[in-house]
Assembly symmetry: C2
Homo-oligomer: 289 residues x 2
């Protein structure tokens, strides 16, 4: 049976409606899934500007999407790019939509965004925090949580026993303690626990060579310790055409990694490639479930 995929066009002032429409115009889309449009008539807002009216429409539509997931009217939700400023103007108190989803779904455990680029999945232990706070924020428990969450999410996409690489923090992964001790004190114990739990986890590995190995296909997933450790690699690997998956959420929710691209909104030139990828991953996860 074909999965039922809810599609929300995203913030109507950006390129979301365009990439969603391009996806829906493809025969392959309808061959693959039963499409359930999410959201009512979009409000008339100026293109290319963050607007509270568009933000309110976005939040209302996301709530409708979550309700559809909860009532099993859809198996997965795919949304085109949102605009954070617009959602804030409309009163979103959360740091991002992911935490809003968690609240709506009554999810109290850890949640994190998972980035997918081609066949490579990554999640990070710390994210939007100052660089100098990263080392003190790392704990065995957080590394285990994020790694476990990444492992489960990749498994949901049809890879039952993914190979997970856990990055070190220091240059050369600390070089046996010469260049920092977080690998010895925190990361290696976390990897050991993961392996004891049955995960196919390796690490701590030097971050610079790790991504060369991951690109070659040695790993399905990479757990990074901080924002740029993963993002420098993922952006070079083409993450602007990649996908973000909601991790730690008891539902399948995906979105393109790129933003609303106000500079080209309404011009008809937006590339639907990442939206198509977000849809493909949602379908695979819905079918595998």
């Amino acid at each position: 049976m074909k999965p039922r995929i809810g599609i929300f066009e995203g913030d109507p002032t950006g390129i979301g409606p365009e990439v969603a429409a391009k996806l829906l115009a493809e025969a392959e889309t309808h061959a693959r899934a039963e499409i359930v449009p999410i959201g009512d008539a979009a409000p008339a807002c100026p293109i290319g500007q963050a607007s509270p009216i568009a933000g309110e429409y976005t939040l209302r539509s996301l709530r409708a999407g979550i309700a559809a997931l909860q009532s099993h009217r859809i198996d997965a939700l795919v949304y085109a790019p949102l605009n954070k400023k617009a959602m804030k103007l409309a009163g979103l108190p959360h740091s991002d939509e992911l935490h809003y989803f968690a609240e709506l779904l009554g999810q109290t455990g850890p949640v994190t965004e998972i980035n997918v680029c081609g066949r490579l999945w990554t999640a990070r232990v710390t994210s939007h925090v100052p660089f100098r706070e990263v080392a003190d924020l790392l704990t065995v428990e957080k590394i285990r949580d994020v790694s476990g969450l990444l492992n489960r999410t990749i498994a949901k996409a049809g890879i039952p026993a993914p190979r997970i690489a856990v990055a070190g923090l220091n240059p050369h992964a600390g070089e046996g303690g010469l260049l920092g001790t977080e690998e010895i004190d925190i990361i290696a114990p976390a990897v050991e626990q993961l392996r004891a739990e049955g995960l196919d986890a390796a690490g701590p590995l030097p971050a610079d060579t790790l991504f060369v190995a991951a690109r070659r296909g040695d790993f399905h997933g990479v757990v990074t310790m901080y924002h740029d450790q993963g993002q420098i690699a993922m952006k070079l690997l083409g993450f602007e055409r990649g996908v973000t998956v909601a991790g730690g959420i008891p539902a399948i929710i995906t979105t393109p990694a790129h933003g609303t691209a106000f500079d080209i909104a309404g011009k008809g030139v937006a590339d639907p490639g990442a939206m198509r990828e977000a849809f493909r991953i949602a379908c695979e996860m819905a079918v595998s479930r």
Copy 2:
């Protein structure tokens, strides 16, 4: 007139002699430069093992190379991969050969290795130090020194006014202070001073998008704040086939970025690509001078 390039075969127990021999076997090499071999008959040492005898031969040959540079018998020195353990066993007290060169040449200013991958040059403000010490090690002066040094080195390679990008430290380059203040307090003032001195410097720029721009050709050089910030990107861009240039040294010295590769030493399968690149860059720098 053709430049005179000194070639040292590197540690004789690794792949150095092989990649040097392959380079010297190419007609193009001799068309481009007058070759001056550096080093006497190599000692007989077992292949694929760090040896104090090989280390002693390495240090003696490097001293001969530096002497040839000082007496202007050669315009540049290119050496095949060395083995740090062997040099340490032979009594090298310095952290690496670069600091040995500085001492031999009576150089007291800052020196740093510069990495070249294709047409992109990078240098880092901190290197082999624990991650948690990085933020406290950054100063306006160090960022200026390294940036100036990178600028001069690229200029020596025939690009008179290189475009230099200076990376931020924090995610999104601090996002206006929300995610860390080193950009505001240290990096931006350094970039301002560099611009006041006439450098074409931009920054602080978010590290993750910066390398995508650099790969596209927007910059000739990138100054990174810490080891992995540059190395994650450079390794993905193919730095294993790249070149290291001695920065801050009043002489032209280049070497392949890869190591002695003991696992394939003596098998005849070593790729001379990076050695050829090291030679090409040395020739360009010697001719431009």
